[in-house]
Symmetry: C2
Subunit: 182 residues, 2 copies
Amino acid sequence: MLKAAELSTTSYIVLGFLHAGSRSGYDIKQLADRSTRFFWQISYGQIYPELKRLQDAGLVDVEADPRGGRARHQYSLTPAGSEALRAWIDEVGDPGGCALRDGLLLKLFFIDAGSPQTEGRLLEQMQRRQEATLAEFAAFRAKAQAHASKPGAARRLRVLDIGVQIHTAYLEALRRLSDDIS
Amino acid sequence: MLKAAELSTTSYIVLGFLHAGSRSGYDIKQLADRSTRFFWQISYGQIYPELKRLQDAGLVDVEADPRGGRARHQYSLTPAGSEALRAWIDEVGDPGGCALRDGLLLKLFFIDAGSPQTEGRLLEQMQRRQEATLAEFAAFRAKAQAHASKPGAARRLRVLDIGVQIHTAYLEALRRLSDDIS
DNA sequence: GCTCACATGTAATCCGTTACATGATTCT
DNA sequence: AGAATCATGTAACGGATTACATGTGAGC
């Protein structure tokens, strides 16, 4: 049995999607890009090695499931995998931070070192970007709502909505700042 | 002269703080922890090597400035350093993303795989954490406002306020979700 | 005398992205 | 026939954290 310390957040994302019924590494990536990506990013370069590690640790099972001549691996949680996921979710402990990372906000912070006309342009650019992000959210939300019959779908939707609200507040703050300046 | 590609975001944070008048690597770290940390984190392990690189590249000057027997290096921007910073800020181009990363939001997303009573507890924990974050913000804001006479201080304060507004929206979203559940 | 803030740095390691490499299937 | 999507993986690189290592000065 693995110790908690040997599993990373990435591991739990993979386990989490398998719990919800995903199968292949590809599937996990697609789903993550439409949901968890908004508060934690993962890439193929993490997913495939991670699936192998989880398999070695006995937390997931693999089954070859070719679609025609195309290779496909169907992963599923073992009881130990389910338990590891549950333990992580239920575990009370160090919350870990909530980190925001935005290069444009950084530019805005140091705007005094730039040319005078840059501030307005930068604020414009940031608003466009936020609008695009929110449009993406809206699109994914709509799709998610389409198959909202699945267990837990409503809850996951509410979590996505937190992301929507955060990004909306960001956009509104940018608009207020733009107004203040002009 | 350096190409833009050879400088990372970390480089520009360092240059940015030197533009605003910071001196030592230690100073930069202290200031960053009270401001830019909310939208881009940096550590000593990056700052000191970075200062050396910038020096080699001719973008910063160093002066030994011991305080008593205690070693201290005073860094300042060269004209090339000022120019590199200005070029980065004024440059229009790939905005780069705005990434949020929050392990608790992830747990909330996968909450179905946990025990029933975990949801409420987790939401509690998240609200406490956001309240703590906002309190930190408020403290730094107050300090920053104290020496608000410096050029650009008002602008930097407004950028910090965007962070406050984002985190406030997050907290409010959590409260609404708590209310919906109970 | 002790503790805290000041101050500088390196090395190991981890985490994660990007680019590369490959190929089948399905839809138009 | 061609494009888009499905599907799996690896290798190189870069970015960043953490732990380690060291020592002074100021205030209580």
